[in-house]
Symmetry: D2
Subunit: 381 residues, 4 copies
Amino acid sequence: MRDLKAAVVGTGFMGSTHTEALRRLGIAVVGILGSSPEKSRRAAAAEGIPRGYETYHDLLTDEEVQVVHITTPNYLHFSQARAALEAGKHVLCEKPLAMTSEETRQLVILAEETGLVAGVNYNLRFYPLNIEARDIIERGDLGEVTSIFGSYVQDWLLYPSDYNWRVLPEKGGELRAIADIGTHWLDLVQVITSLKVEAVLADLQTVHHTRQRPIGEVETFSGKLKREEATDTIEIETEDAGAVLLRFENGVRGSLWVSQTTAGRKNCLRYEIAGSQRALAWNSEMPNELWNGHRDRANESLHRDPSLLSDAARAYATYPGGHNEGYDDTFKQSFKAFYSYVAAGDDSAPKPFATFIDGHEEVLLCEAILESHQEERWVEL
Amino acid sequence: MRDLKAAVVGTGFMGSTHTEALRRLGIAVVGILGSSPEKSRRAAAAEGIPRGYETYHDLLTDEEVQVVHITTPNYLHFSQARAALEAGKHVLCEKPLAMTSEETRQLVILAEETGLVAGVNYNLRFYPLNIEARDIIERGDLGEVTSIFGSYVQDWLLYPSDYNWRVLPEKGGELRAIADIGTHWLDLVQVITSLKVEAVLADLQTVHHTRQRPIGEVETFSGKLKREEATDTIEIETEDAGAVLLRFENGVRGSLWVSQTTAGRKNCLRYEIAGSQRALAWNSEMPNELWNGHRDRANESLHRDPSLLSDAARAYATYPGGHNEGYDDTFKQSFKAFYSYVAAGDDSAPKPFATFIDGHEEVLLCEAILESHQEERWVEL
Amino acid sequence: MRDLKAAVVGTGFMGSTHTEALRRLGIAVVGILGSSPEKSRRAAAAEGIPRGYETYHDLLTDEEVQVVHITTPNYLHFSQARAALEAGKHVLCEKPLAMTSEETRQLVILAEETGLVAGVNYNLRFYPLNIEARDIIERGDLGEVTSIFGSYVQDWLLYPSDYNWRVLPEKGGELRAIADIGTHWLDLVQVITSLKVEAVLADLQTVHHTRQRPIGEVETFSGKLKREEATDTIEIETEDAGAVLLRFENGVRGSLWVSQTTAGRKNCLRYEIAGSQRALAWNSEMPNELWNGHRDRANESLHRDPSLLSDAARAYATYPGGHNEGYDDTFKQSFKAFYSYVAAGDDSAPKPFATFIDGHEEVLLCEAILESHQEERWVEL
Amino acid sequence: MRDLKAAVVGTGFMGSTHTEALRRLGIAVVGILGSSPEKSRRAAAAEGIPRGYETYHDLLTDEEVQVVHITTPNYLHFSQARAALEAGKHVLCEKPLAMTSEETRQLVILAEETGLVAGVNYNLRFYPLNIEARDIIERGDLGEVTSIFGSYVQDWLLYPSDYNWRVLPEKGGELRAIADIGTHWLDLVQVITSLKVEAVLADLQTVHHTRQRPIGEVETFSGKLKREEATDTIEIETEDAGAVLLRFENGVRGSLWVSQTTAGRKNCLRYEIAGSQRALAWNSEMPNELWNGHRDRANESLHRDPSLLSDAARAYATYPGGHNEGYDDTFKQSFKAFYSYVAAGDDSAPKPFATFIDGHEEVLLCEAILESHQEERWVEL
C-alpha cells in the first residue's frame, strides 16, 4: 500500500484533509493542483508537497502518480474523473461523483472499461461504529428493520451573509443541502441496513432567497471567521433545508430532515434505525458512542472500543476505547480501505468503499428528490 | 381554587394521575366513575375517594362536583363531555377531545353556549421549559422561526404481542400513533411558535398487521409487565409509525416522525425549532433542560431553575433548579391553570390551557393527515 | 395509611414540600406551625390546611395528629422531636436529626422507649434507581464493591451576597456543606452498598469568610431571585466546600467532594461505585437514568421504567418509563414507606426508611469529619 | 518544521502513535528502535520507516536525526533521554520523564547545559478546549479560581488477569495509577489554572494484590483482546486506585480520584474547576465540548469550533466545528508545538509544550503523594 503514490486536485479544506490522511498511512502525496499554477505552487509549499502542477495535464502525465484524489467544486468532478481514468489513474473522488446522472452513468461505464479502481469518498461509512451498526444488522441482532429516521443539520449557512460556491447551482448543482449533506445520510443508512430507497417524496425550503457574495474567494467553513468585505447580492435557488419521506425495500419507511440553517448544530448527522428487536441511534457529533435501544433490558451505549467491536469494525479502529477518534480518522480509514484494495490488485474482491456505482445511485436519488419536490408527489427510483 | 371539587371519569392509569395531581393542589376529588359500579367502588376504595358512582348520571347529579375530568377511552369522550356540559359542569377532557371533527365541532358550540370552562389536557404544554421556549420566541430571541422538526417515539407497542384498546379504530380512532402521541407534538410546537399548520403530507406505516389480544382487560403501559395469558389474533389497521411533512404559516416548514415500535425509546418527544438567530431543542426524557443553539457563541443548556426562567415559565415551576420535576408535575401545573381560571370566573381572560377549540383543531389536523396518507398528496387545512 | 393524619412544623420550602407530598398520598395535613402564630395562620390559609397552630403545644395536643413532620432549622430539631415523641406522636424529621451526637443519642433512646415510629427524611434513598442500585449490589451483579467516589455540588451560595440561616453555626451546625448535602451522599452510598464508613480524613474550605446578611428573613433557595435590600456583614466559619477521604468496611476506599459554590451545578449529586464485575454511576440532575459500566460489553443506561426494575425498586416507581419522575416524587415515596410502616403497626418489621439510628450515625460521621479536618489526620468511627 | 527529521525509540502502541502524528505534519520519521534488532526491523517494515536500528548507538549517531522520541517503558527514559541530549539531539520524551526526582533533576540540568529542546509529551494539554479553558481563566472570565476536583478513571486493569509492565515497580515506578494517569490530570489542571500544588494528602489502594502475568510480552491496552495463554502469579504493590487531597496556591483546594479498575470507564479524565464567577468542566471521553457553568444564566456547552475559540485555542484546532477531533489529534498538535519551537530556533521564546522542568515537578509531586500515603499525613512540596 505504501508503494502507491497520490496526487491531489483541489487546494481547499478538503484537499488538505486528503493530504493529511494519506500521510498518516505513510502514502506519499507527490503533487497537488490548484485552480491556477500560482495556487498549485503555494499549496505545494504550504503543505510540503514536492510538486505544484501547472496544469491538470501535467498531473495526469506524472508517471509517479497512481491515484488521483479529486476535491474540487462539484461541477469539475465529471471532467476530472473522466480524464484521470482515461490517463490510466485510479480515482478517489469527493462526493457527489458528478452533476447529473448522465455524467455519472458515463463514469461508471468508463471505470468498468478501464478496470481502474474508482471510488467516491463517502467517508462517514468509516466511523467504526457505523461499521458496527451494519454488522449488528447483518448478524440479525436488530431483528427486521422496520423504520429509519434522522437528520443532518448544520449552521454554517445560517445568515444571509454566509456564502460559498455550493449555493450556486452551476457550481454545486441544483440541489444543495440535500446533495451536500443529505446524500451522506442516505448513503450511510442504505449501507448500514442493506436496504435501498425505492421512492421519495420531498419538500424543500430556501430560507434565504438572496445572499451576500463576497467579492473574492471563500473557503468552505471559513465564512464563520470572516472579516468585513465588499459583497454583492445574489439570488438563491438552492435549498437551505428540506424534508424527504422515504420508502425503502421490504416496506421499510423513513424520514430525513436536512438543514444548513439551524443555529448551534455544527455538523450533526443523526440516525435512528428501528428493528423488530432493537433500535440503533448515532450522532456524528458524538461519534464514539452507538446507542442500542432495548425493550426488555437496559439501553446500551457502545463505545468505540476495539475490544467490544466486531471484527469488521475493529479493522477500522486504531486507538483503544476512550481514546476518541474523530472526523479526520474516517479519511484515514477510508483511504486505507481504498489503497489496500488497489494494492491487492484483485478486481474480483468485494469493494470495501463506495464505488462509482454508489456515486451514480446517489445522483439518481437526488434527481428523484428534486423531481418529487417540484411535482409534489412520490417519485420512484 | 381549593373550594372547587372534582370528579374523575375513568379508573385507569390516567384517572389515577388526575386524582394525584388534584390532591397536590389541595383540590378534593369527591367521586370517581369506572366502567361498572363494582369498578367505581374498587377505585374509590383504592384511592381513598369518598364516592364510587353507580352511573354517570349519579356523577352528573352530584351537586358537590363542579369539574368533571374525563379520562376514558377516546370513543367515550364525546358523549361524556357533552353530558357534563349539559349538566352544568366544567369539563377537563383528556385528548383527543372526540373521535371526529363533527363531534368536536358540536362540543365547541356547546361549551360556548353554556359558558362553562372546557379544556383539553395537553399537559406537555406545562413543562416549564416549554413555556420558556414559547416566551423566548415571543420576545424575539429566536428571530424569525424558519423550520420545526422532531419526533415522538415510544416502544410499548413494539411486539405483536403488545395490545391495548388504542390499537382498535372503534375504541381509539382511525389514527393511532399520530392521534395518540403525534398530536401532543403538533399541539406543542404550534403553541410554542404561535404558528398554525396549513398543510400536511403524511406516510403512515402499520408494522404489525396482526396483534395478539389478551382475553381480558389491559391497562395502558402495563403490557410490558404482563404475564402469560390466553390471546386471540386481531387484524390491525391503525398505524404503528408515520411521517408527516408540515407547512406552517409564514412559509415555515417542518417534519414530524412518530413511532410506537422503536425499542428503547420509552416516551421520547423531541423538537428542534430553528430561527434566524437561534435554535431550540427539547427532549421529554430530559425535560429539565432546554438546548439553545447559537452560531456565534457557545450553545446553552437552560435548566428548569426558577431563577433563570421568564416570569411566564416561573409561574409553573415549583422546585428550585436541580430539583427535577417530571411528567406528573405537568398535570399539577395544567390543573392549576385550569382551576385558577375557573376560580377567577372571568370569561374574558385569555385561557392559559388548551380549549375545546384547540381540541377541535387537533382532530381536523388528524383528519387531514389521514386523508393525505390515503391519497398520497398534500392536504390543506 | 390514609387514616393517619399529619401536622407539619415549619412553613418554609421544605414544609410546603412535605404538605404536597402527603396530599398526593391522600394523607390529610390537619395543621401547620410557623415561627409565630401569624405565620402559622398565613401558611394554613395559603396551603388550605385546616389549622394554623398558635404554639407547638397546641400541635402536640391536637388529638387528630398522629405524625409530626419537622422541617424547621436544624437547631430546633432536637427539642421538637423530643417533645413530639413525649407527646406520643410518630416523628418524621428532616435531616440532620439534631446538632450533636449527644442529642441524637438521646433521641434514639427516646424513640426506642416510646415505641413510636421515628424517621429521618433521607429522601434521596427513594429515587427508584437508587433502590435499583442497592438491589444490583445485593444480588451480586456488581461483584465485590471496591471503591466509591462522588460529589454533591450546588451553586446557590456562590456569591458573598448569598445568605441563609444554614451558614450560621448556631442555626445550622458547625459543619454546613458537609452536613447539609454531604450527609445525603454519605447516607446514600452506605445504604446502596451496605458498607459503613470506618474512617475519614477531611479538608474543608470556607471560600467566603464574610457574607452579606439581608436584614429580614431569607427562604432557602430563594436568594437567587432576591431583590436589592439592606444587609449587614457577618463572619463565616462554616465550610463552603470540602473533600473527604473515606475508608469503608472490607478495605473499600472512597472520596467525596462537596461544594455550594460551583457555578452552574444546581443540585448535583453524583456517585460512581466500582465493583469487581461492573460499575454504577448516577447523577441527581438526571435521576431517571442509572449508568452501568461494563468491561466486556457495552455500557448500559437503565431507565426508571417499571418493566425494567427489580421488584424492590418498582414498588417506588409510579409512572411508566420515559414519564420522568423527579425530586418531589422522592418525598411521596419516602412518606409512603413511612406511613405504610406506621399503618402496618408491626415494630418487628425491617424499616424501609432512615431511622433515628441512621440519623445518629450521620451526626457521628459529621463530628468525625470536623475533627479530622481540624486535626489534619484520619479519624476512626 | 518539515526540514526536521525524527527517530522513534519504542515499537509499542505509543511508538506508532508518535510516528503517525509526525507524518500528519509532514515530518519524516527516518528510523525506529525496538528492544532488539529484530524488533526494530519488523517495526520499520510494518510502518514503512526507512531504518530499523540495530542499537541505540546507531540511532544516536544517525546524523539525519535531529529529534528523538522516547516511547519506551518508564525505567528506560532516564538513560535514553540523557544519551540523546549528550548526542546533541532534541528530545521529546513520553511521561514520566524518569523514575526519580534525582534522575529528572539531572535531566533538567543537562537540557539546560546543552541548550537542546527537551520536552515531555503531556499531550492532553493540546486538546483545543483545554487551551480554551486556560484562556478563559487567564482572561478573568472565571473570576478567582476557588476549587478544582476531578478524576481519571479507566477499566483496562479491572481483572486480576489483566497485566502490563506498568504494574511492576521496577518497570513503571513505585506509583502506578497516580503516575500513569493521575499525573496527566495534575499537569492539566495546573497548566489550565496556572496554580501549583503546594501540599498533598493521599490514600492509595491496591485492589488486586496478585495478578496473572502472561508468559510472553503484553502490549498496553491490548490485554482486553487477549487469548488464553500461560501465566504466572505475581505480587502487586502498585496502586490500582487512589484519592489525593490537594492544596494549591492562593488557598485553592482540590481533590483527585484515580482508578484503573472501574468497569465501563475506558479512558475518562474529568475536571471541574470552580471560580468566583463561573465553573468549567471537561471530560476526555467527550473532548469536543467544554461545559461552562453559570449562576445567573444558562449553562453553556462550548464546541471545539474554530470560529468560537480564542486565538490561542484556534491555533491547535484543525477542523471545523462538529468535525470531531480526538486523542490522536493531540499528538499532532503537541508535536506541531514542539517542532515549530525547534524550527524557530529562539531559546528565549516561551515554550508552548511541557518541558523537562515540568516533567521534574511531576515526579516531585508523585514522590510527595507516595510519602503522604505511606505516612498518612499532608506532605508539602
